[in-house]
Symmetry: C2
Subunit: 166 residues, 2 copies
C-alpha cells in the first residue's frame, strides 16, 4: 500500500477507469447473462458463438475468421468443431481453389438448433440497450466497431482469453 503513489494512476483508482478492465467487465456481465440461457439449451458458450456466427454469415467461413469472431483460440475451436460436426450441426467444406484451406459452414441441424436462441439473444440485447437509448446505443456500437477495425491484426495468432485452465 505504501507504494500506491508510485503507480501514476491516470485517476484515483487505475483499474476503475482503465478501458480494458471496463470492456472486460461489461463483456463478462452482459454475455454472462445470456450464457445462462445458452446453458439451459444444452450448449456451451463456444458452441453458441460458433452457431450464432455461422448462422448469420452468408456463406462458409475459414477457421481463422471464425476464431476471430468467436474469440476462441484455434486449437480450442478445432475441438469444438469436431464435436459439433459429430452432431451434424456444422460441416467442413474444402476450399474450391486452395486445398490447404478448410471452410466451416452451418448444417441444417445447427440452423434449427440455434434459430430460437438467436431470437432470445436479440431480445436480451434489446433489454440491455434500452436504458441507453437509441443514440447512445448506436454510438457505443460504432465506437466498438471502430476499435475492432483498428486493432484487428487480421492474423491468426491464437488469442488470450483462456489463461487459466479449470
Amino acid at each position: 500500500m505504501q507504494r500506491m503513489s508510485k503507480a501514476k494512476a491516470p485517476q484515483d483508482s487505475f483499474v476503475d477507469g482503465y478501458l480494458p478492465a471496463l470492456l472486460a467487465q461489461a463483456s463478462h456481465l452482459i454475455s454472462g447473462e445470456f450464457h445462462r440461457v445458452v446453458a439451459q439449451k444444452g450448449l456451451t458458450v463456444s458452441e453458441w458463438r460458433v452457431l450464432a456466427t455461422l448462422a448469420s454469415t452468408a456463406g462458409p467461413m475459414s477457421i481463422g475468421a471464425l476464431a476471430r469472431l468467436t474469440v476462441l483460440k484455434q486449437p480450442t475451436l478445432t475441438r469444438v468443431l469436431d464435436r459439433m460436426e459429430n452432431r451434424a450441426q456444422v460441416k467442413r467444406i474444402p476450399h474450391e481453389t486452395d486445398r490447404r484451406i478448410t471452410l466451416i459452414a452451418i448444417a441444417p441441424a445447427g440452423q434449427r438448433f440455434v434459430a430460437e436462441l438467436i431470437d432470445l439473444a436479440a431480445e436480451h440485447e434489446r433489454r440491455v440497450l434500452e436504458p441507453l437509448g437509441l443514440a447512445r446505443s448506436d454510438e457505443l456500437k460504432k465506437t466498438l466497431r471502430q476499435m475492432i477495425e483498428l486493432h484487428d491484426p487480421l492474423v491468426e495468432d491464437g488469442g488470450a482469453f483462456e489463461d487459466e485452465p479449470e
Copy 2:
C-alpha cells in the same frame, strides 16, 4: 443457410451488430495487445489483473469483489492467489470483525513488480483512445460504467469466461 431469414436478425448479419459479440471482440483485441507485454514480464493475465486491481485500490478486498473486478471465477482466483502468496506478491488478511471473510491485499513485492506494468498499461490505453478523441473516449467509458453498474448482480456466482479448458 436456407433458414437464415428465420433468424430475425436486427440487421443483415446478426453477429456483426450484436452488442455482446462487439464487446467480446473489442475486449479480446485490446486486452490481447497488452497481454503480450504482461507475458514478457513473466506474469499470466490473471496475475496481472489481480496485481493491477489490488495496486489501485485503497485497501484490502474480499475475494468476491476481486473476482468481479478481475473477471475470474472464484476457484481459479483462489489458485492464482495461492501461487502469488507463495511469491509474497499478495497476502491474505482475516477480516477484522467477520472471521469467515478473508481479505486480499497486495504485498510490497507485488507493488514493486506491477508498478512499471501499470505505467505501460496507461500508455497503451492512451494509444488505444487517441483515435477516438477525448469526448468519445469519455462517453465510451461512461457508457461501459453504466452498463457494468446496471448488470453487476453483486453476487458471487462464478462467471462465464473459462468455457473451454485447454
